[in-house]
Structures are given as structure tokens and as C-alpha cells.
């Protein structure tokens, strides 16, 4: 059985992010992109302190990725008089977020990033299917799935924490369902917000997620 242990949606004005990081870890996160700061704040809010040592994987997706950082690098490389600053190149690498997170989530054993190819769509059906398979085979105790976007206008983080065992207030269980339901909700970046809305309602008893782009990867949540 796979359990949904936490659902979280966050939104920050970019100027608020460093403050949110300091509130979460008691200090600023040195040389961290907005995306990394968003990842840290969301991961810590999703994972109770007593769970942070458990074997954990992070599967995260982003629409805009490190767009501003990439524009900065392109400007330096194409228009600058010299080679770019080393950190400006490093800042374009989404993979470094995980190394910065591991200091605060000692159980974090793996991180995978899937950049998205179209605004308004998401890979939740892929991430949750992988999470379901990996938890079922015992590869990890828990898996954080996220959609993160940090733009000059706003930073959005949507999170789902799945586990092989239920936490005390686990609201639902998850199962992979290869026969998509006609009333399934679409695979969009804010799917956790829709899931939270459903959890606050009395019915229906289940919620299905289905991406028309991936007909074999359908999922169903059922309240506990």
C-alpha cells in the first residue's frame, strides 16, 4: 500500500524566499538559486523532522527551470568580454539543488529532475507512478514529488509526500490504475492544490489523475 502523507502548495514573492529559508533553517542558504531555496522550504515543510533521516527520493519537475540563470550565462558567454563567472555556470545546473538539500535532509538518497516541455502541463502521472513502483519494491521509505517554478514574478511550489507507511495524519492512499477514469483531473502543475481541494470535500470517494499524453500512467487516490 502506498500512502499520501502530505500535500502542500506554497507561493512566495521572490523577495520573500530568502526570509522563508532563514525561517526554515535558521540561516541563509549560501549561493542558492530561487529554485533551490524553493525546494528547501517546501521539502522541509512537507517532511516532519522525525522523517528526515529515512531513505528518501526526490522527484521534481519544473516548467521554467533555471531560466533567469540561463539568460545570465548566455549574456556573459555571447556578449561578455571574458569567460563567465564559475558560479554563473553552476547556477544553470538544476542538479546542484539536491546536494544543497541533503545537508538538511540526511536521508535524501536520490534526486531526479524532469524539465517540462510545455507550460500548463506536468509530469505528475510519471512521478507518482515511479514513486508508487519504487515504494512498492522497497527502494525508499518515502518519496517527495514536486513541481517548482521560480520566476521574477513569483515562486510556486507544489508538493506531495508519499510513503510506504502512513504518517499519523495521512489523508489518502494511492494506487496505480491503468484504466483511466472519465472524470480524471488533468496533469497540471498545480495538481496538489486540486488534490487538497478534493480532500476538503466529502465526496467523491476517489480522485483520479490522468494525462492524455500518457494513457498508461493513470493513478487513483482514495481517502483513508
Amino acid at each position: 500500500m502506498i500512502y499520501l502523507n502530505a500535500v502542500l502548495s506554497q507561493q512566495f514573492a521572490p523577495a520573500q524566499l530568502p526570509g522563508a529559508v532563514r525561517a526554515a533553517i535558521g540561516k541563509p542558504l549560501r549561493r542558492a538559486s530561487g529554485l533551490t531555496q524553493l525546494a528547501l522550504v517546501g521539502a522541509l515543510a512537507s517532511l516532519p523532522a522525525e522523517c528526515r533521516d529515512l531513505p528518501t527520493a526526490l522527484l521534481w519537475q519544473s516548467t521554467s527551470g533555471l531560466r533567469q540563470e540561463t539568460l545570465t550565462l548566455l549574456d556573459e558567454v555571447c556578449n561578455g568580454a571574458a569567460e563567465p563567472m564559475p558560479y554563473d555556470f553552476l547556477a544553470t545546473q538544476p542538479a546542484i539543488a539536491a546536494a544543497q538539500l541533503q545537508a538538511f535532509l540526511p536521508g535524501l538518497q536520490s534526486a531526479t529532475q524532469t524539465p517540462l516541455e510545455q507550460a500548463g502541463t506536468a509530469n505528475w502521472s510519471l512521478l507518482l507512478s515511479l514513486a508508487g513502483l519504487w515504494l512498492a519494491e522497497g527502494r525508499y521509505a518515502q518519496i517527495l514529488c514536486a513541481h517548482l517554478d521560480s520566476t521574477p514574478e513569483a515562486a510556486h511550489g507544489h508538493w506531495l509526500l508519499l510513503g510506504a507507511t502512513p504518517l499519523e495524519k495521512a489523508p489518502a492512499r494511492l494506487q496505480i490504475d491503468t484504466s483511466p477514469q472519465p472524470d480524471a483531473v488533468p496533469d497540471s502543475p498545480d495538481f496538489p492544490a486540486r488534490l487538497a481541494d478534493w480532500l476538503h470535500q466529502a465526496s467523491p470517494p476517489t480522485l483520479s489523475l490522468h494525462s492524455p499524453a500518457a494513457p498508461r500512467l493513470a493513478l487513483e487516490f482514495a481517502r483513508l
Partner: protein, 360 residues
């Protein structure tokens, strides 16, 4: 449900040649010298694709179509898993300012799917140097779990100034050659590649026996020198494959000639294999470090070598580093390999180990 996942088809275009067999032959002959690539006042060795086309997008299309054709006929709806570190940044460089980046960072994947002739589900992975194995892990997990029957995993890394300049600015590049595990190693040599594997639940010659990704948060740019996390990923992989270290016949190293990472990998290998070290091989000194494509490109090249029973010597190695105290293969071999372990170590602490095994 957990089904075996097989490697049913392969394609490769890299500096070593335009097919897996051609690359294997070039590796066997030791005939893969790098060219040079200029960056401002500096020049670096570089393994470029053998394509003359000057337009970045046209060259990318040529490279991807060449690789796709090697896979043979595929159903158009076959899911595609794409690994890349830089996607189409070279195209934006060529077009110049103002840089019109699309709203979605992997928008290029749609184009890649079109060139591959695939219009099914597409997923992109950008985990620096382990991206290829992250994509492979996702695809094979879904096949093993019965959610897919087949998939194509594509690794794409094409020339651009941003990546070269970034690595150069971090002083990670050699000015002369890639020397894996060598006492005189002084950095990486980058390269280009487009590579693909067709994964299937149907039996084929090679199967994926184990695949594990890991994370080493020692620093954002390099692994723990003691090699503990790298060893853990390899041990997890052995456990999944239900074999012991003694069952591994060959290790395809990450070994890119980096002073720190090569040492960490060597220390990890000692933890895993102790006194029973299998033959060690690095391919990066012969085809370059192809970053997000390296996992798939080196897997395809290695399998072609193993099929031919022509295991090449590791180019660039000549002098043992007493601190590493290991040496990769310096002589060619016709050994029959049943199982090989492939290591990847990337920026951001990404680690991956893969075990491939001949199907029985």
C-alpha cells in the same frame, strides 16, 4: 509485477563513428583522437561529431535522425525518455541576443520527438552527467512494473559555447588530453554525442540487471574523496541484481580524468571490490565526456565492444597514480563478458550505477 527489461536496439553517433559497431571498431583500433575547440584566447581538446553542417538546428536534426535510423522501425507511439544537460542552448547562442528562451525549459524535446519519428509520451531528464541513467531508470522501472512494454531512451549533448566556457571557467578542463586514473591527469575533455537505446519487455541479447541512482552532497561540484556514497550506489545496484561484486566481469568507469573525482571513484571501487578488482575501462578518453548523453552513449559503445569481444585499452593512461593505486586496462582484450558495471558521477552529487547482463 517485475519483468526483466531488455536492450532491444541501439544507436550512436559520436566522435568515434556513426554506429555502435563503427565506434567499437575505432575504440579497438585506438583511432579516436580529439579535435580542438577555441574559447576566446584559449583552446581545448574536444570530441566533435563528424558532421560538417554549420547551422546548429540543422546539425542537431542530422545527428538525431542518424541515431534514430539505427534503431530500426518503431511504433510511432513508443514513449521517449530524453536526457540532456544543455538541450538546444547552442541554437540560442547562434541566434544571438535578444535570447528568446521558450517558457518551458524542455520545449526542445518536442522537436527531438519529431526527428525521432515518435509522437507518444515524452519525458525529459536534466540531472547533469547522470541524466542518461536517470532516464533509463524511469523507463525501465515503468516497463518492469508492467506500465509500459517498450520505450526509447535518448541521450543528446551537442556543441555549445556555454558548457565549454562554464567548465573552462571552473578550471575543470584539460588543455591536452583526458588521462583517466593517470598520475598526470589534469581535467576533462568534453565531447558531443547522440545515443539511443530501445528498451523492451521482450527478450533480447542484453538485459538491465540493476540500476541505482545515488546522491553525494559532499559538495556541489565533487564527490566525497573517500568514495562512500559512490560505493553505496554500486552496492545497492549489486543487491538489486542479486549478485556479488565477484560476479562483475568489467567496470566501465566514470573516470573522466578529473583529479578529485577519479580518486573518489577509485576509493569507492576498493570498498566494493576489495582485493578482487575486475578489469577497469574508461571510454571518456576516447569519445569525450558527453555529459547528459554520456550514460547512454557509453552504454551503447560498451555493448558494441562486448558483442564484438573487442574490449579496447583505455586511451590516455600511462602512469599509475600512487594515491589511486589502480589502473585501467592498458591492453586490448578478447574476453567474453557476462556482466558489466557502469558508473556515472555528476555535478550536484548525482551518482548512478548500472549492471548489464547477457540474457540467458
Amino acid at each position: 509485477m517485475k519483468r526483466p527489461v531488455h536492450i532491444a536496439g541501439r544507436g550512436l553517433l559520436c566522435a568515434g563513428g556513426d554506429s555502435p559497431e563503427a565506434v567499437a571498431a575505432a575504440l579497438w583500433d585506438g583511432a579516436c583522437p580529439p579535435g580542438r575547440r577555441r574559447l576566446g584566447e584559449r583552446e581545448f581538446p574536444y570530441f566533435a561529431l563528424p558532421l560538417a553542417e554549420a547551422d546548429w538546428l540543422a546539425r542537431a536534426e542530422q545527428a538525431v535522425r542518424c541515431t534514430a535510423a539505427q534503431l530500426g522501425p518503431l511504433a510511432a507511439e513508443t514513449p521517449l525518455f530524453i536526457a540532456s544537460s544543455s538541450f538546444q542552448i547552442g541554437h540560442f547562442e547562434q541566434r544571438g541576443a535578444p535570447f528568446e528562451l521558450p517558457a518551458a525549459s524542455a520545449s526542445f524535446s518536442h522537436q527531438l520527438g519529431d526527428w525521432m519519428g515518435l509522437n507518444g509520451p515524452r519525458y525529459s531528464f536534466s540531472n547533469a552527467c547522470i541524466a542518461g541513467f536517470s532516464a533509463l531508470d524511469a523507463a525501465r522501472s515503468l516497463i518492469a512494473g508492467g506500465l509500459l512494454n517498450q520505450a526509447v531512451v535518448l541521450g543528446v549533448e551537442l556543441a555549445n559555447h556555454s558548457t565549454l566556457a562554464g567548465f573552462a571557467a571552473m578550471e575543470l578542463l584539460s588543455r591536452s588530453a583526458c588521462r583517466p586514473f593517470d598520475a598526470g591527469r589534469d581535467g576533462l575533455v568534453l565531447g558531443e554525442a547522440v545515443a539511443a537505446v530501445h528498451l523492451s519487455a521482450a527478450p533480447a541479447r542484453w538485459r538491465i540487471a540493476g540500476l541505482r541512482t545515488g546522491l553525494d552532497g559532499y559538495s556541489t561540484t565533487g564527490p566525497d574523496p573517500a568514495g562512500g556514497p559512490i560505493a553505496s550506489a554500486a552496492v545497492d545496484c549489486l543487491q538489486e541484481a542479486k549478485i556479488t561484486a565477484a560476479d562483475i566481469d568489467l567496470v566501465k568507469l566514470q573516470a573522466a580524468g578529473s583529479p578529485g573525482t577519479d580518486l573518489a571513484e577509485a576509493n569507492a571501487l576498493r570498498r566494493v571490490f576489495a582485493q578482487r578488482m575486475p578489469p577497469l575501462l574508461s571510454l571518456k578518453s576516447a569519445i569525450g565526456h558527453t555529459l547528459g548523453a554520456s550514460g547512454i552513449a557509453e552504454l551503447v559503445a560498451l555493448l558494441a565492444c562486448l558483442d564484438a569481444e573487442h574490449i579496447p585499452a583505455t586511451a590516455g593512461f600511462s602512469r599509475v597514480d600512487p594515491e589511486i593505486a589502480l589502473f585501467p586496462m592498458v591492453d586490448r582484450s578478447n574476453a567474453h563478458i557476462e556482466r558489466a558495471l557502469l558508473n556515472l558521477i555528476g555535478f550536484g552529487g548525482g551518482l548512478a550505477s548500472l549492471i548489464v547482463e547477457r540474457s540467458r
